[in-house]
Every structure is written in C-alpha cells, then in structure tokens.
Amino acid sequence: MTGSPSLRLDPSLRPEDYGAVFRQHGRLHVPGLLDPESAAGLARTLGAASGWTRSVHLEEGRDIDIAVEAFDALPAEERARVEEALADSSTDSLQYVFDTVRISAELRAGREVASAMRSLHDFINGESFLGFVRRLTGDDRCAFADVMATRYLPGHFLSAHGDENPAERRLYAYVLNMTPTWRADWGGVLMFLDEDGHVAEGYVPAFNALNIFRVPQTHAVSMVTRLARVPRLSVTGWIHAGG
C-alpha cells in the first residue's frame, strides 16, 4: 500500500454547468474529476491495495464474502459450483461477482482500514466532493457517502438492478473509474437499461471519470472479458440523504 494520497478535485470543474443535463437525464459522465496528481496517486493506491474481498451474490440469501486468498484456496469443486451458479442465465435476480474493499462498512464496524483508504473515505465525505455533488445535482439533501473500492477481474460482472434501498435513503450512485487505460472490448461497461432490457446508454471505463446517476435506475456492469490485461479499478458507492 502506498502512502495516503492527498486528493483534490480538478479546480476547473464547474458542476453548476452540468445541472441541467443531469436533471434531464438523471445521469452524467464527468471526465477528469480529480486533478492529475491526485488521480495518479489514487490509481497507485488502488493498484497496490491489499485486503480485497471476493464478493459473490448468487441470489437472495446466497452470498459469499471472503478474502480473495481464502476464495482461491477453496476446493476446486466448490469454486466450480460457484462459477456454475453464476453462469445460470435463467435467473433475473441480482447476481454479481467482483472484488471489493468495503471501506465505509469496515469503518462503521470499527475495523482498521489502510490509511490511504481512510483518506479516500474522508475525501468522498468531505465538503469538496459532497459540495460538488450538491451543486451538480442541485440537491441539498446529499449528506454522506458510502465508499468502496472495487476490482473487476475477467469474468466479474454486476447484473441489472436499480439500487433501491429505502431504508438507506440512497439518492445517487457514483462510480469513479481509476484504471489508467481500458479498452471497450475488455467489457466492464456501466450500462443503463431501458424498459425492454436494451442498452439505452453505457460508459466504457475511463480513467478519472465520474459516472453519477439518480437512484433508482436500472443498470448493470458487463462482464469483464478474458482480453482484459489489467483489473477494472474504481471507487464506488451511494450518496445518502441525512437521517
């Protein structure tokens, strides 16, 4: 793990200018969120991060959340059963598999997180970022954010879902992609689906680009393909209204 990065938004961003588009479409792609030095530092942090958890959701009540090393140490037959269940295309329920460091959840639970991850959490929950989101969305209810680092490797995906969770008062979801170079044919596309299940709009991961969208909104992340030469790294979570 590298040292704690000092993160700053790109000072040239004018979130008010995006407001009309965001209010009309309910989603927005903002390139160049962080200043270049911050972006490079955060990319190094994520690239060197340890403590990843393999997070697998097969269906309601069937979750696997274990250290990647422990998952890889499972008997081959057990891993094959998981792969088989994930390949069941007959289900419409939420499914996903990816690696994560659940920074906010760890902090809430009183567990230690790496200092760089704590800095990231504090930045996302600081006035700089939350104020940016308030001005962009025109929504003063934005009070705090969940933060997790995610890592998608080949075969990882997130099936269609809307992020609804009334109990948590989620207002917006965000994804800050931090893989320096990504190709469209590597998959990992954040896709927004129309009522017929087609791709109304998708964003190929772009370094230091923020995707932010209103909740609920049906979206998915396409499977990262075997062609991907690097992990799809991002910082993601929800912006919540206060209690």
């Binding site: 390949a87 295309s89 995906f157 109304a200 396409s222 499977m223 075997r226």
Partner: protein, 156 residues
Amino acid sequence: MGAPDVRLAEDAIAVWPRRERLAVVPPVSDASWKAVAAHAEADPSRELMVVVERALRRQGLRPDGEARLLRHRAGGGGLPDLPATAAFGFLLDLSDARRVLDGGLLLFLDGTGRATGWRAEAGALTLWQADQAPQLTELAPGAPERLSLFGAARPL
C-alpha cells in the same frame, strides 16, 4: 414557453444505427450450418434472404454481396469485417438473449467511450454505417447460442 422542437421527418430517418423488428423470421435449422465453431458460417436460406431484402428495401438499401450466418457461443464474440467497399452493415438476430448479462450485445461506441446498444432479439434487424461498426460483445458463460445473419448493404 420556449420554441417547440421542430424537425423535418428526414432528420429522424438519417439517424444511425437503425433497428427494426421484423414480423416473421424463418426458422434456421442446425442442419443448415456448414461448420460448428465459435464463428460458424453457412449459406443462408433463400427464404431468409428474401425477408432481409424486403427489410433493407424499406430502408432504401439492398444486400451487397453474400450474407453470412453467424453462430456465437459462450466465450465467443466479435463480428467479421465488412468488405472495404461496403457502405452499410446489417445484422439480423435469429435468437434471443433474455438479459444483457448474457453478452452478445451489439454495442455502438461514439469515440468518447459512450455506448448504446441492444441485446439479441430474434427478428430484429440492425443497420449501421460501415464506418461506425458495432462491437458484438463476448457471450458470458452459460449464455445461450447467439444466431444471426450478417452482411453488407448499399443504397438502392
């Protein structure tokens, strides 16, 4: 109250890519395939081509050379190149994908990383300009086979 958004009908017609659902798609039997591979090719049946020709004609187009039947299986993806002289490409879906996570999406990218696209729907014909060819994304493990008819088209 602002000015109304007025557009000529021709403006809408000029939008690419285009997609339409055909009423009937003739069945494609497994026996019609020449080869069994991730990218199988076979001669499309005459009746299938008649359907495609009619659909293309409605768009002011006609086939340009031979069309090819494609079969993609889990792990497969991609489209063959169109001939260098082709003006348009088309893909007629002959099978369904229930959900986008099955892959096999026809994704059009705008050069800035923004995408729009469709999952497979039997009977849907997608047309595009040759210089804006889509990706056909990799099919996920467990996804059903994706059958389609692929070819080039040119103005009537």
